[in-house]
């Protein structure tokens, strides 16, 4: 019998639905339709970029690391892509490839600093972020480059109210979900995040999964940068900071039920977390909430939403008595094992009393 355990992803979904209901009511009070095409597009668009970043961030957080450099990777990626494309559609493949390769390289550096030099992810990526910031400031002044219309379509078109960018983000989330659950690297990432020493003793090579997570995280930040370039039509050296993506993505990941200490969590939870933030933002925008007050609400929502399940997520023993207990509720497997245990033990009782003489 499976033990029923309310998955944090389910709780996230619950909070999201609650947010949607409250949002819809609030939006209706100002005479707007929450589920209108324009609003749905607004919410989903708001989710796409942060969603991509959060997917990558989930990977590193699962590995018990962090990536604070994503903001700068995003900016760099948008600039690289826009300058390489330089307005010509023929350059798109090359631009995308070069951009993602550079991002992967940055991720590799992050991963190596964290695993080989043993610098805590927080500091390592803070440092790499500063370095990237320096590179951005020295090499780019203001927005530059030019994204051809063909590439802008990714950010501008949609299927009905659903933007293409959101579809891409969800598809990539599915790929990463598969990676986490169906590949050894995924399983090992959970292990390394859960406890690197245990992973090592179990024969897992602890560096590759974490390095892979960092590389993927930067690549996803790069993808977010590409998406931003496509939406902006140019590359911008500050577009990453503008969105505050580093801290917000970590907040979304934790909101989605992923343990900040690593080893537990899911991609869908993170997407749910991103959705909650997007819905709250959208409702506040429609309500024309004072921008300063928006930050207050954001802060409160993040903490409150995490508080809903954080206590519950702590591993507890099964109760025996009282509601849900094995004695009152009935745990079939345990009950079934009972006679067997009893039989074995009484058998043992005979043998051990016979063998007792051997001990002083």
């Amino acid at each position: 019998m499976k033990r029923i355990r309310i998955d944090s992803t389910v709780i996230v979904l619950g909070i999201l639905i609650l947010a949607l209901i409250i949002g819809a009511i609030l939006v209706a009070t100002v005479g707007r339709n929450f589920f209108s095409a324009g609003n749905v597009r607004d919410i989903l668009t708001g989710m796409s970029v942060l969603g991509l970043v959060a997917i990558g961030q989930t990977l590193v957080v699962l590995g018990a690391s962090l990536d604070l450099s994503v903001t700068y990777v995003i900016s760099l990626s948008s600039l690289l892509a826009a300058t390489i494309m330089n307005g010509s559609p023929g350059n798109i493949p090359a631009a995308v490839a070069v951009t993602l390769l550079v991002c992967a390289g940055i991720g590799l550096v992050n991963g190596l600093i964290v695993t080989v030099l043993k610098v805590n992810g927080f500091i390592a990526t803070l440092g790499v972020g500063l370095i990237l910031q320096g590179i951005l400031n020295t090499n780019f002044e203001g927005s530059s480059g030019n994204v051809p219309w063909e590439f802008q379509l990714i950010g501008a078109t949609g299927v009905g109210p659903i933007p293409v960018s959101t579809i891409i983000m969800i598809a990539l989330a599915a790929v990463v979900w598969f990676l986490l659950n169906r590949t050894r690297t995924g399983a090992h990432l959970y292990a390394v995040g859960g406890d690197p020493e245990i992973a090592r003793l179990s024969g897992v090579r602890t560096r590759p999964p974490l390095i892979a997570a960092h590389v993927l995280c930067s690549v996803f930040a790069g993808l977010a940068g590409l998406l931003l370039a496509s939406r902006l039509g140019v590359g911008s050296p500050t577009v990453g900071q503008q969105g505050g993506y580093a801290l917000l993505s970590i907040a979304a990941v934790v909101l989605g039920g992923t343990l900040l200490l690593g080893g537990r969590g899911s991609i869908w939870g993170a997407i749910g977390g991103v959705a909650i933030l997007a819905v709250v933002d959208s409702v506040m925008s429609v309500m024309q909430v004072n921008p300063f007050l928006k930050d207050v609400v954001r802060g409160v929502v993040i903490v409150a939403a995490v508080a809903v399940y954080s206590r519950r997520a702590i591993v507890r023993r099964r109760p025996r008595f009282g509601p849900g207990g094995t004695r009152t509720g009935g745990d079939d497997a345990a009950k079934a094992a009972e006679p067997e245990m009893a039989a074995a033990a009484s058998e043992l009782a005979d043998t051990s009393s016979a063998a007792e003489g051997g001990r002083s």
């Binding site: 024969g203 343990l259 537990r264 025996r320 497997a333 074995a344 051990s352």
Partner: protein
């Protein structure tokens, strides 16, 4: 026993030396195992057994010396390499991830794949098969390990090792958390392995197991090799003498002269919480009460309930006759209780802190005003427990298991508790240290304190207790007098016999 004396050794180590922070913990060890053999490795806490196992497993490199495997010298620098070669280890510390399922843990590091992707179904079915092989049906391969009890986790740990196609399996105290029944099942497995020609290295502080299982026994003392003999050539006494360097007359010290059983110090009346129910018992001054029961019968929950970790929600409690409600560990400590918990690494010690800081942990937590006076008592308490450490500043994680347990004892003794609850006090500690713990219990009793001891080792319960309470499925089901036989206790513990149908003399139920 089918001693395979004349076959070629499958694994051989020679001249192994290892130092930590300049202290040599292995001083040139020669050791070998042959196919089909169970080779016991014994020694006091800190003798270097685990370190040797780790070197064989490729976890730590040796400073000097060679490891030869199937004739060739090997230099494993990562456990992976050793495993790939067929050397598998059940480590003393659990190597399970609480957030992952049993199957995921068992196959961690070599998940079965189909078409390049992890084959989850195969993983689950194979785990189920392995569990069934062990005769265990109560562990769901898809359950999260964190939701299992310590004993169940230990079984998973063993299953994990068995899932390899190994040539050499080292087991570092595999039975520390197992009950006799499961130990018996493990015996069967080991015999099956050896009959297939697998070599087993077996480390345990339970000497009975060593004699039951092993073909040869190697004794370590203070990092040096004492002897390797065929089991038949050794007696228990001789083994103990070589391990400890002196012979221990009796495993269980007698009560200190002048110990008088006095007034009840702790009385429970119909207490219960989510884990235990209807607990009524009384503990008198000068008395040692043992609690027996099967794994998962709720003994730990009982002491944790008394200690306020999972406070009782029903019933009443009296300390020294005064009605008391204990709803937190803090209240318990203030009421004069102490709990030597089952899992010292998780619940007892801050491993990265010094011996001194750990000894003062409770004082600082509850009686912070007494810190400086207690600080002066620390050296005395530590030396009375014969802790061997490199000083008050040594980090506790660098101590061996037995010495760590003594630090836990020291931390409680400093509070001068009146009622001491011991949960598995001798788990994973050597004979010498065990004896010291027993002696300590006797001394406490002699000082008029009340002692409650939970133990999975029946001889210990029988040897130490003035009365024996038996738990079954969250309830106290029997009270037996001192010196009851094992089968009586087991009968009550399994629910096969219901002694409280017969007349018992008050106390519990």
């Amino acid at each position: 026993m089918t001693a395979a004396v004349d076959t070629q050794a499958v694994l051989e180590v020679s001249g192994i030396r290892k130092s930590f922070f300049g202290v040599e913990v292995l001083k040139g060890i020669d050791f070998d195992v042959r196919p089909g053999e169970v080779h016991g490795l014994v020694g006091e806490n800190g003798a270097g057994k685990s370190t040797l196992m780790k070197i064989i497993a490729g976890v730590q490199p040796a400073d000097e010396g060679a490891v030869r495997y199937r004739g060739d010298e090997v230099h494993h620098t990562h456990p992976r390499q050793a495993m790939d070669d067929g050397i598998v280890t059940v480590f003393q510390e659990f190597t399970l991830l609480p957030e992952r399922t049993v199957a995921q843990n068992v196959y961690l590091g070599r998940e079965p794949r189909r078409g390049g992707f992890v084959d989850r179904r195969a993983m689950v079915t194979r785990t189920a098969e392995l569990l069934a092989d062990l005769g265990v049906s109560f562990i769901d391969p898809q359950a999260r390990v964190g939701s299992l009890t310590v004993a169940e986790q230990q079984i998973v740990e063993i299953v994990k090792a068995l899932s390899f196609d190994a040539q050499v399996i080292s087991m570092d105290e595999p039975t520390a958390a197992l009950s006799d029944r499961e130990v018996e099942l493990l015996y069967a497995i080991i015999r099956r392995l050896t009959s297939r020609g697998v070599a087993v290295i077996y480390v345990s502080h339970r000497l009975k197991e060593i004699f039951d299982l092993c073909d040869r026994i190697t004794i370590l003392k203070d990092g040096a090799l004492v002897s390797t003999d065929a089991t038949a050539d050794l007696t228990t006494d001789e083994l103990v003498r070589r391990m400890v360097g002196r012979s221990i007359q009796s495993y269980f010290p007698d009560a200190v002269d002048g110990t008088v059983v006095g007034e009840p110090r702790l009385e429970l009346e119909g207490c219960g919480n989510a884990f235990v129910d209807e607990v009524s018992l009384s503990l008198r001054a000068g008395e040692i009460v043992g609690i027996a029961g099967l794994q998962g019968s709720g003994r730990t929950e009982l002491v944790e309930g008394i200690f306020g970790i999972d406070p009782f929600v029903r019933g009443s409690m009296r300390v020294d006759g005064a009605s008391t409600r204990i709803t937190s560990a803090r209240a318990a400590v203030r009421a004069g209780l102490a709990l030597v918990s089952e899992d010292r690494k998780a619940q007892g010690l801050a491993l990265g802190q010094s011996v001194l800081d750990n000894s003062l942990l409770v004082i600082r937590s509850v009686f912070s005003a007494r810190t400086s006076s207690s600080r002066r008592e620390v050296p005395g308490v530590l030396s009375s427990l014969e802790i061997s450490s490199r000083g008050l500043d040594q980090e506790v994680r660098f101590l061996s298991g037995g010495n760590q347990q003594k630090v836990v004892l020291a931390k409680w003794l400093l509070t001068q508790p009146q009622i001491v609850l011991f949960d598995e006090p001798t788990r994973g500690i050597d004979v010498g240290a065990k004896y010291a713990v027993y002696q300590l219990m006797r001394d406490l009793a002699a000082q008029g304190k009340a002692v409650l001891m939970v133990s999975s080792e029946l001889p210990e319960v029988i040897g130490m207790s003035d009365r024996i309470l038996v738990m079954h499925d969250g309830e106290l089901v029997a009270e037996l007098p001192a010196g009851s036989a094992e089968h009586e206790i087991l009968g009550a513990a399994t629910g096969a016999i219901h002694p409280h149908d017969e007349a018992t003399d008050g106390g519990a139920r």
